[in-house]
Symmetry: C2
Subunit: 84 residues, 2 copies
DNA sequence: TTTGTTTATACGCTAAAGCGTATATAAATG
DNA sequence: CATTTATATACGCTTTAGCGTATAAACAAA
């Protein structure tokens, strides 16, 4: 499953973490690539809602990820609710 | 075109703005729904990199949008470069 | 035009993000 | 086990997001 829906900071953080691990990287390595602290990466992955877009997009670039923004679909709504 | 790729704060801001307009709303209205100031919505749409994830996701919810996070594809890379 | 609406910008304030640095946990590995 | 590696957390600091409020500038409509 390479495409993940994110409606919350926690979900996007979790997706970032999965991708990082899939690439065999650690937080320190991502921090080096992005010039962010390991602690900052930790916060993003934990879903801290105060994280800035600058931080998110730096990490997305480092992990070779991109976002798609689209209207919510019923199908994706169903998927999300599985979580609860 | 209802799906948009965003690799930068400016791109996500632009996508939010298009969606808001497509829904016939103004920034003040989005601010009311989200309990954010009109000025804050303005900043997000302008692509201010310091905008917080909390702000982004509040607005996405108000506009009934969601994010998809996925690996960058060559196809999407081509599309992005059209912009420049 | 003139008026009304919408969006951008400004000021002072409070809260907090990210910084460098350091350490405490946790997880993996020998 | 012991030891390395990885992640979470802490402290003091500087910078800044978002706040309320207000106004300026841009845009639309009469």
């Amino acid at each position: 499953m390479t495409e993940q829906i994110a409606r919350t900071p926690k979900q996007i953080g979790a997706a970032v973490r999965r991708r990082r691990r899939a690439l065999g990287m650690n937080q320190k390595g991502v921090g080096t690539k992005t010039q962010l602290r390991q602690a900052t990466i930790s916060g993003l992955e934990a879903g801290e809602a105060g994280t800035q877009l600058r931080t998110l997009f730096s990490v997305l670039t480092a992990l070779n990820l991109e976002l798609v923004i689209r209207p919510r679909t019923q199908a994706s709504t169903d998927k999300i609710e599985e979580i609860f």
